[in-house]
């Protein structure tokens, strides 16, 4: 990176460290931080959409739709979420391949499950065997995002379902009295009002989502945990220009501090938003705000 980095063996102290921390592999680790942020940026809205769909389904008047919504909400309560993460990645992968298998190779007669193997025709493989490396990585990442979105969508559905029920009944009855249809009541009265009630739950969920990002490692994505293990391990002089003993403790310490800062910042921002939203509301917090100002 720097001009004086050509011969690391001669460097000392701070200069050595500045060269060491800017090697190509370290750069990949910094990109991995970007991966985490990207995951959050994609997952949060997707999970919210899943949650909204789930909560609306749970309120539906059509019985099968309601059952699907309620099951989706209930399923996350009794089971460790990490089991979901491990389950969905394989299950989704196999589901996609199976569907493609059915479409692309209709004349394939052998069963898909042969003993301990899951066999689909080559044209149905995802990604295709001859695809470049970045396609494999992107596919893995997209599977991870989808898994996160499904699991967190269930949590979001739970929050939104509660928020929809918290909207005062009188509001909905008034809408009905004005002659609005169910659909109009839902979109024009219920949905705009539920967000205030949903925000505490959703901000809690955001914190949880931040803390769930290291699980990307379990899904086979080269994320910060992967790099911290990789780079921190003891390095021998014959294999690298920057030999050092086992530093994994320091790498994971750095990750710990990164997450602490991230949650702290989120906390401050979310508190600000909540203060904005409660302003002038007829709730305890709103009342306290009014008294403090007076």
């Amino acid at each position: 990176m720097f001009s004086y980095c050509t011969d690391p063996a001669t460097l000392e102290g701070f200069q050595w460290l500045s060269c060491y921390l800017t090697t190509g592999k370290h750069m990949s680790m910094y990109y991995a931080f970007g991966t985490v942020l990207l995951l959050l940026a994609i997952t949060a809205p997707t999970a919210l959409a899943f949650g909204f769909a789930g909560a609306s389904a749970a309120r539906s008047t059509v019985a099968p739709l309601r059952w699907i919504g309620k099951t989706y909400i209930a399923i996350v309560r009794g089971i460790p979420d990490i089991a979901f993460f491990l389950f969905f990645v394989i299950a989704l992968d196999q589901a996609f391949e199976y569907i493609r298998h059915r479409i692309k190779c209709p004349d394939w007669t052998e069963p898909v499950r042969q003993g301990n193997d899951f066999v689909v025709c080559t044209a149905a493989k995802l990604p295709l065997g001859n695809a470049p490396q970045w396609v494999h990585e992107t596919y893995g990442f997209m599977l991870a995002v989808l898994t996160f979105a499904i699991v967190f969508g269930a949590f979001a559905a739970n929050v939104l379902f509660g928020a929809m029920r918290a909207v005062p009944k009188g509001q909905l009855e008034t809408a009905e009295a004005y002659g609005m249809s169910r659909r109009q009541t839902f979109w024009r009265v219920l949905v705009p009002q539920m967000w205030v009630y949903a925000l505490p739950g959703l901000s809690n969920l955001w914190m949880v989502l931040i803390k769930a990002t290291p699980l990307l490692f379990l899904l086979g994505v080269e994320d910060i945990v992967y790099w911290a293990r990789e780079l921190g391990g003891a390095k021998q002089p014959q294999f690298t220009d920057y030999p050092h003993p086992d530093w994994r403790m320091w790498y994971f310490g750095a990750l710990l501090i990164f997450y602490l800062c991230f949650t702290k910042v989120s906390e401050v921002v979310l508190d600000r938003i909540m203060a904005k939203l409660t302003h002038g509301q007829a709730t305890t917090a709103g009342e306290r705000q009014r008294k403090a100002a007076a």
């Binding site: 460790p80 803390k211 921190g232 710990l256």
Partner: protein, 268 residues
């Protein structure tokens, strides 16, 4: 091989008792049920022990955070912030490598690099921080009248804490604490995925479920089995904590009792 033989061979496999080799091919449902159930021993061990010890530290932390003196308050606040503000997964990794480097300092730290002690320490501190925050919230919402009444009876110091403040705090915090206990049990599944080695393949329930899913390439059998076990465990926890809850509330009229409600709180 009949199912009874499988149970005899593998029921205590996670503790290293019984058949040494795990099944390698022709997996039967019975094997999967037995081994995953055997792994549950670890989950229950971690959860129960961490909860029992964590309860006392949590009380201390909550009292510390509620104290006027910054000498007590600041450390308690930092303790809670560090353990609640970072992922448990990273805490496990960090602690494992920390214990590894401590090992070279003194043989006293040797057991900490194995899961039964090292992961337990992390889970203990973690649950203490989460429950400490719950207890602190409950301390803040003890009715003013209760404490004034205690003062009027001439109670003070330790007696007032033991007879009035502590039971009221527990009663108010219990529904949330039940929730915390459930999700602590769920969090125990992370142990063997985060650095701590499963020596001789003695792992927890998720470890074995993952083993079967990897070997058979079929996630649709082992994970639902695991899910079934955890649902049963959750129901048992709710039942036991419900008993304590009704004892804590026994002096109250029926309609003033606080019900236990499970709310998803999820990963830490």
């Amino acid at each position: 091989m009949s199912c009874w033989e499988t149970i005899a061979d593998y029921a205590l496999r996670s503790q290293g008792i019984g058949e040494r080799l795990l099944p390698r091919s022709d997996f039967t449902l019975c094997q999967q049920f037995t081994l995953i159930g055997s792994g549950m021993i670890w989950n229950i061990y971690f959860g129960v022990v961490a909860l029992c010890f964590g309860f006392f530290l949590a009380t201390a932390v909550a009292m510390g955070k509620a104290a006027q003196n910054p000498l007590f308050r600041k450390p308690a606040e930092w303790f809670i912030f560090i353990f609640r503000g970072s992922p448990l997964f990273i805490q496990f990794f960090f602690a494992y490598f920390l214990f590894l480097s401590l090992k070279s300092v003194s043989p006293f730290f040797d057991p900490l690099t194995s899961a039964w002690a090292g992961a337990l320490v992390v889970l203990f501190l973690n649950t203490a921080a989460y429950s400490g925050e719950i207890f602190y919230g409950a301390l803040q919402s003890i009715p003013k009248g209760d404490i004034e009444a205690a003062d009027a009876y001439g109670l003070s110091g330790w007696t007032r804490f033991r007879r009035v403040i502590w039971p009221t705090m527990l009663r108010l915090a219990w529904p949330a604490y039940t929730n915390e206990a459930i999700f602590l049990f769920h969090a125990t599944t992370l142990v063997f995925f985060s650095g701590f080695p499963a020596t001789q393949q003695r792992g927890d329930a998720l470890y074995y479920a993952n083993y079967f899913a990897d070997k058979t390439f079929n996630p649709f059998v082992p994970y639902p089995i695991l899910a079934g076990y955890f649902i049963i465990l959750t129901l048992i926890v709710i039942g036991l904590f419900g008993l304590v809850n009704s004892r804590l509330n026994r002096h109250l009229p029926q309609d003033a009792r606080r019900k236990i409600k499970v709310r998803p709180q999820i990963i830490r």
